[in-house]
């Protein structure tokens, strides 16, 4: 956020009087105001003007507020704009849906303009703080000089996370990376990434990513927000053209729910105790190239004994055999199912062996993590 630039707010409500009340109040406080009386206009202005915040009425004829926020959040150019909903008291039931869709707050109608102002201020502060946090993290990371490549965590260090791992690097500066974190009791984060290229800077980047994960994978951020923060810092510090594909899973063993964030990475294989094993297909932007990104996100209910596997493409892609993801992911899934009886601490290695035998020889790094709920 540029301090020279006036902070700007887009007000969206089909009722011109409501728009005018808010506009009058916020204009007085020095904000640049844009207004729209319907959803399509709102999205167009959001795209053209990139406001710092959007006040969005839920109930509008035609495209309603939910529809608008869905489209905004699915568009990389507008996905990071803070959205506050305006809602009538009778629509209070829809609050949760709005938060789920990415709104940060609600203002109930009839609203008091000074309440609107207070909330606008609060959320702009939060978003400015987040942005400066990112800038701060980026500048600190640039100062890291000592590469700490041998920082890959071992399953016995966090037994509660119940995982097994197989890691094989072609050379010392491997392009693959994984991390497992305790976020809170019963909640763990699992991260697998693959850096583009195998040059020497990769090892320094690995330690940067590790530090970033530690800083940003916390309870206060949703999983997609954590990876977005990591993306925003890496976007600042990565050399041009360098990026990583990644998959981040946040598993809550207490609520039995698992959220998977995917950024251009091979899909997670999910082997439930009950039900059919499947590949969790997701589409998402890679990490580090773009400032505005949209990641694949899926949350599923899990049960004790369910397993899932995260891995890098070295295992399922072969330049010699011309095997690509879609096919490779199916082979991976088959291997996970076939070897479901193997203990989770040994399963990743067995699966790798099973698959690499079929591929003959390796031409890339490999990481496989298996997790059991």
């Amino acid at each position: 956020m540029n301090n020279e630039k006036k902070l700007s707010i887009l007000i969206v409500d089909d009722n011109p009087t409501n728009v005018m009340i808010i506009k009058t109040t916020l204009t007085k406080e020095g904000y640049q105001i844009y207004t729209a009386l319907n959803g399509p206009d709102a999205r167009k202005i959001a795209n053209d003007k990139k406001p710092d915040l959007i006040l969005l009425d839920i109930k509008m004829p035609g495209e309603d507020g939910f529809e608008v926020i869905k489209k905004l959040k699915n568009d990389g150019a507008t996905s990071s704009i803070t959205v506050i909903f305006l809602t009538g008291v009778s629509e209070i039931d829809s609050k949760l849906e709005g938060f789920e869709l990415g709104a940060v707050d609600y203002i109930t109608k009839p609203f008091h303009p000074l309440e609107v102002l207070a909330r606008v201020r609060l959320h702009l502060k939060l978003s400015i703080a987040t942005n400066s946090l990112i800038a701060n993290q980026a500048s600190k990371l640039k100062q890291i000089t000592d590469a700490q490549t041998s920082l890959l965590i071992k399953p016995e260090e966090i037994p509660d996370a119940v995982f097994g791992v197989y890691y094989h690097a072609l050379n010392e500066a491997g392009g693959d990376f994984y991390e497992v974190m305790t976020i809170s009791e019963d909640i763990h984060g699992y991260f697998v990434a693959d850096f583009s290229g195998h040059d020497i800077s990769t090892s320094y980047l690995t330690s940067s990513v590790k530090a970033l994960l530690k800083q940003n994978c916390s309870l206060i951020y949703k999983p997609e927000e954590s990876i977005k923060m990591v993306n925003d810092v890496l976007h600042e510090i990565l050399p041009a053209g360098k990026y990583l594909t990644a998959c981040y899973v946040r598993l809550n063993r207490k609520s039995k729910s698992m959220t998977i964030i995917n950024s251009g990475h091979p899909p997670v294989c999910y082997i439930p105790v009950n039900g059919e094993a499947r590949v969790i297909e997701q589409e998402g932007d890679v990490v580090g190239i773009f400032k505005d990104v949209v990641f694949g996100k899926e949350t599923i209910k899990v049960e004790k004994g369910d397993r899932f596997f995260m891995y890098t493409d070295g295992l399922i892609e072969s330049s010699k055999d011309k095997i690509v993801w879609t096919e490779g992911a199916k082979m991976m899934l088959d291997a996970c199912v076939k070897l479901n009886d193997v203990d989770i601490d040994k399963a990743p290695k067995e699966i790798s062996r099973y698959l690499t035998n079929e591929f003959q020889d390796l031409d890339d790094d490999i990481v496989v993590i298996g997790i059991e709920i």
Binding site: T17, N18, M20, I21, T24, G88, K109, P110, P113
Partner: protein, 104 residues
């Protein structure tokens, strides 16, 4: 009806408030016409939408009687009824006229 104190309640100067009220009168008339049309066309959905819009705008400006009347009509509409609110309609009309006279 004191525009100065109504404005103050919202943290607005009197002239700012009057400017908004002018816009409100304009849109409120449109809403009012839509309500009447909804009755004539036997269209509860339209009745709900137009009275909801009037309710919200009037409520935000502190015209609570108009807002309450509109809310009454909105509830009727939600129950699929399109009559039984003549009193509320004439009350809204009267109060809108009063406001209009005051800002001229």
């Amino acid at each position: 009806m004191d525009f100065k104190s109504l404005g103050e309640n919202l943290g607005l100067e009197e002239d700012e408030f009057i400017e908004i009220v002018e816009l409100f009168i304009d849109t409120a008339h449109k809403d009012f016409e839509r309500i009447q049309a909804a009755v004539n066309n036997n269209n509860p959905q339209e009745l709900v939408e137009s009275s909801h819009s009037l309710k919200g705008a009037a409520g935000n400006l502190g015209f609570s009687e108009i807002s309450k009347c509109a809310e009454f009509i909105e509830k009727k509409g939600r129950n699929g009824e399109i009559d039984g609110f003549d009193l509320q309609l004439s009350d809204i009309k009267k109060r809108l006229e009063e406001i209009k006279i005051k800002i001229v």
